[in-house]
């Protein structure tokens, strides 16, 4: 009798505890001024929190680790523009690639009021087999996946394609695969039994609560930073709201950025000197053939890109694809030949045209010294380049002469 | 595998032949077998001695015992029929066999 009583007491205590935690999490705000441009894995994983930041004029910008670079410079997108100039929601972490962003887009689409999205493509995404299963497992978001499967605007064909790709990418991770199969059965299956359906619902709810709780904890830890609105550090941000600076204004900014880092890239690769010391110098002599067998023509990432664009089309979202520049000195040196990079540019342009998306190819700038801090990440000038491209798309204006 | 005691057993003695016709004294037969198997006359002297605790017999010894009981008295006891505790002294064993013989 005592053990049964102990069990019941413990169970009741647990319920009370769970309710309290739930309350605490519910009270955390996900719409602080700095939230939408915050670089955080927890934020990117929690679709409801992201959706809460989709205002009338919010544009989604998806990328990956570049968002974590240059945060202290005035050219980083979150410092360059205030919310009145350009309201963006940044989503992207290391290992984010086309497929995970496809799911993010599909899950957020129903809440988008300003139906525009930018996808910053890094050529590294296209290396060999595209998205790695480990990367997929690291970036997997239950709320994004469930949101995708339950988005009725998408055709069943598209949703089934996503389900199949997710199952393929989770084959190395038994637990993830079980979960993916459960969600597929519960949310897409035609013949699913009651028990499995219920289990899918419950598991999904539990996982989304977990994502929410983790985000709430991260928000609490960072709440000071999140109070700062984008562009706050700038005495003046770019232009006035919605007005595109002229080309001469952009060129002035370019020269300024150039001068700011003029003395800091005196090395054979034209990366920043500090990165040269840290990452490149010691392996420079032996890296000649590092990327000899790397190819950029494998089908997977291109197919994932097509999936992304299919979703954009079915949801009526105007999309711009920006092919980011890479450090050509490094890739030429390591034998990732220019022909591969040209193939990539051409193929991306073709796919964009097929799906009616805008495309901007920044790979012409790959030989620009001081553009990137290392092989792929934007430095001050690099950010400026990206900023202009995005702002132009947002305002639908080309800079005047 | 639950083998008891670690007493050295070197069993290579021939067991005595088929049961004599007529009534066999169960007590004598069992004590004789036990003394052979445990290689110790103490089982005759102290029929309440705990042969498991004293390390006088192990599980192969038990099986040999059951075999000899069957041969000498005709009473069949299966290996798993009784627990160690139920058969851990000579007197207990004798009591069980006698009860079975009567049934």
């Amino acid at each position: 009798m005592k053990k049964l009583q102990a069990f019941l007491t413990a169970f009741v205590l647990f319920l009370i505890f769970a309710l309290c935690v739930n309350e605490a999490v519910e009270r955390v705000s996900f719409t602080d001024p700095g939230f939408a441009t915050w670089y955080s894995a927890q934020k990117d994983r929690c679709i409801p929190a992201l959706a809460a930041n989709l205002n009338e004029k919010t544009m989604i910008v998806m990328g990956s680790s570049e968002f974590n670079h240059g945060k202290k410079t005035k050219y980083h997108i979150k410092n360059m523009f205030s919310k009145e100039d350009m309201d963006v929601l940044l989503i992207g972490q290391p290992y984010s690639q086309c497929f995970t962003h496809a799911m993010n887009l599909a899950a957020l689409a129903p809440d988008m009021k300003y139906k525009k999205a930018v996808l910053l493509l890094s050529p590294t995404w296209f290396k060999n087999a595209g998205m790695a299963p480990e990367a997929f497992a690291a970036r997997f978001s239950d709320s994004a996946y469930i949101g995708t499967l339950t988005n009725r605007h998408l055709s069943m064909e598209t949703r089934k394609a996503i389900a199949a790709r997710a199952e393929e990418l989770s084959k190395n991770n038994v637990n993830l695969q079980k979960k993916v199969r459960l969600y597929n059965a519960a949310f897409l299956g035609e013949d699913t039994g009651y028990f499995r359906f219920f289990e899918g619902l419950f598991t999904g709810w539990l996982q989304m609560e977990r994502e929410r709780a983790q985000l709430a904890a991260a928000v609490k830890l960072n709440h000071k930073n999140l109070k700062k609105a984008p562009g706050k550090d700038q005495a003046e941000t770019v232009g006035e709201s919605g007005v595109m600076p002229s080309w001469s204004e952009w060129e002035t900014m370019w020269d300024e950025a150039d001068a700011a880092t003029a003395d800091e890239h005196n090395n054979p690769l034209n990366v920043s000197d500090s990165q040269w010391e840290k990452k490149f110098r010691s392996k420079y002599l032996t890296s000649g053939n590092l990327h000899r067998n790397t190819r950029l023509d494998g089908p997977n990432e291109y197919n994932d890109l097509k999936l992304f664009l299919t979703i954009a089309k079915e949801e009526g979202i105007e999309t711009e694809i920006v092919l980011l520049p890479v450090n050509a000195y490094w890739y030429d040196y390591t034998s990732l030949g220019i022909s591969q990079r040209e193939y990539l540019s051409q193929k991306v342009a073709d796919i964009a045209a097929d799906y009616g998306a805008k495309e901007v190819d920044l790979s012409d700038y790959s030989y620009e010294p001081g553009l990137l801090t290392d092989a792929v990440h934007p430095w001050q000038k690099g950010w400026l380049l990206i900023d202009e491209t995005i702002y132009s798309f947002y305002t639908n204006q080309e800079p005047a002469e | 595998m639950g083998l008891f005691g670690k007493k050295k057993t070197e069993n290579n003695e021939k067991v005595s032949a088929a049961p004599a016709a007529g009534a066999v004294d169960i007590r004598t037969a069992i004590l004789e077998s036990l003394a052979n198997i445990c290689e110790d006359e103490v089982v005759k002297e102290d029929p309440d001695i705990n042969i498991v605790e004293e390390g006088l017999i192990d599980s192969l010894g038990y099986i040999e015992l059951l075999m000899q009981i069957e041969e000498k008295t005709g009473v069949v006891i299966a290996p798993a029929e009784y627990t160690r505790e139920e058969m851990d002294t000579p007197n207990k064993i004798i009591a069980i066999v006698e009860a079975k013989a009567k049934a």
């Binding site: 069990f7 039994g193 | 670690k6 069993n11 192969l60 069949v76 290996p79």
Partner: protein, 388 residues
């Protein structure tokens, strides 16, 4: 109907929780639990196998086959007495379904003969009944207790293996309220403990295994060995605890399967602590019989030789029962060898006899035993053969 995985799926635990409520009410009211338990067991049989109609059909055939066989053999035994040939015939017939299941290849549709959940464990019980009829210990076989014993849901998946007469006794016993509450309380505790073992610890060690134990170097294999040993224990002991706990709530005191196995001092002790019901079943129905038969032939004078042969046969069969893969057989023979060598060592070595109560020696003994056991599990996992 879905295919519920017992003791694994969330839906199972919810159903179990709901099913336990009437059981506890009946137990508190001092009413018999067996009919309700039987009904619940049938429901779980349908929930776990309902989607697979051939499996249900095979289960039905199996139960009918085994029950009729037991009844017929009972009559044969009563009329004809202990006839060795007939005994072997009936015994082989009772394990025939399992052999067909394991050794016939799968059909083109991918289903196997007698392929239903629990056949391996139900066969143990059916064979035990035949053996004990031969022994003369079982004199009656009732339809209800026989069927209930085989379909009793907590132990269908992987045991523990109960004995037919012990189960029957519990099944017909109605406990007074305080005793039942005590039993049910223990049952709840065991279920929770089992859940922590299986759902938390086993999962952690499995993850660690996938992350750090997959290296192809010697070091990699060593890491795999330790992590797999921990994973296997928590997974299996966790499941066993949940099975035992659930059976307590339904009034059956199923025997435990694990008793701190990694504290074993030697291999014989280990098998008294790991998968106890399996090892005791083999001890009582294989090892002891083989030993007795060998002794009767009078061909081997030495107990040590007899014991060694019996160990090899016993553990070899145990290995084979797990499956036909070469590493299962090797695993069985490996333990056969270990047990034989241990027996010889303990009986013949003066060093052992002089030091066996010495603390330092015991620590050494424990460490050696632990690693021998873990290496055995490494074989068992199939990892050395590129399987896992």
């Amino acid at each position: 109907m879905g295919s519920m995985a017992l003791f694994s799926d969330l839906s199972f635990f919810i159903c179990l929780g709901l099913a336990c409520i009437p059981a506890i009410i009946l137990g508190v009211m001092e009413k018999p639990l067996r009919y309700y338990g039987f009904a619940v067991s049938l429901i779980f049989v349908f929930l776990s196998m309902g989607h697979n109609v051939p499996a249900l059909i095979f289960l039905g055939i199996f139960l009918a086959w085994e029950y009729i066989e037991a009844r017929v053999y009972l009559i044969v035994r009563q009329k004809i007495g202990r006839n060795g040939r007939l005994y072997w015939l009936f015994l082989i017939l009772s394990i025939l379904p399992l052999c067909l299941n394991k050794y016939l290849p799968k059909t083109s549709e991918g289903f196997s003969v007698f392929g239903f959940l629990g056949i391996s464990y139900m066969t143990f019980k059916s064979a035990q009944v035949i053996i004990q009829i031969y022994d003369g210990q079982i004199k009656k076989v009732g339809l209800f207790p026989y069927l209930y014993m085989d379909v009793f849901f907590p132990v269908i998946t992987s045991g523990p293996i109960d004995r037919s007469e012990r189960f029957k006794e519990d099944c017909y016993k109605v406990l007074p309220k305080p005793e039942y509450l005590n039993l049910a309380g223990n049952g709840v505790e065991k279920i929770l403990q089992g859940m922590v073992y299986k759902i938390v610890f086993a999962a952690i060690f499995w993850d660690l295994l996938q992350k750090y134990g997959m290296g192809e170097s010697v070091g990699g294999y060593i890491i795999y060995m330790y992590l797999y040993g921990l994973y296997l224990f928590f997974d299996f002991a966790g499941y066993s605890l949940m099975a035992v706990g659930a059976s307590y709530i339904f009034g059956i005191v199923t025997p435990d399967n694990f008793n701190k196995p990694y504290l074993a001092l030697d291999i014989k002790d280990f098998w008294d602590r790991w998968h106890i019901t399996l090892s005791h079943w083999f001890r009582d129905f294989v090892f002891s019989r083989v030993t007795m038969d060998l002794m009767r032939t009078r061909k081997f004078k030495s107990h040590l030789v007899i014991a060694s042969i019996a160990f090899f046969i016993n553990m070899g069969v145990m290995g084979l029962w797990h499956g036909t893969a070469v590493y299962y057989i090797l695993y069985g023979l490996y333990h056969g060898a270990l047990l034989s060598l241990t027996e010889v060592w303990q009986k013949k070595s003066a060093f052992y006899k002089n030091h066996k109560n010495n603390k330092a020696f015991q620590v050494l003994e424990w460490a050696v035993t632990l690693h021998l056991v873990l290496f055995g599990f490494l074989i068992f996992s199939g990892h050395l053969f590129g399987v896992a």
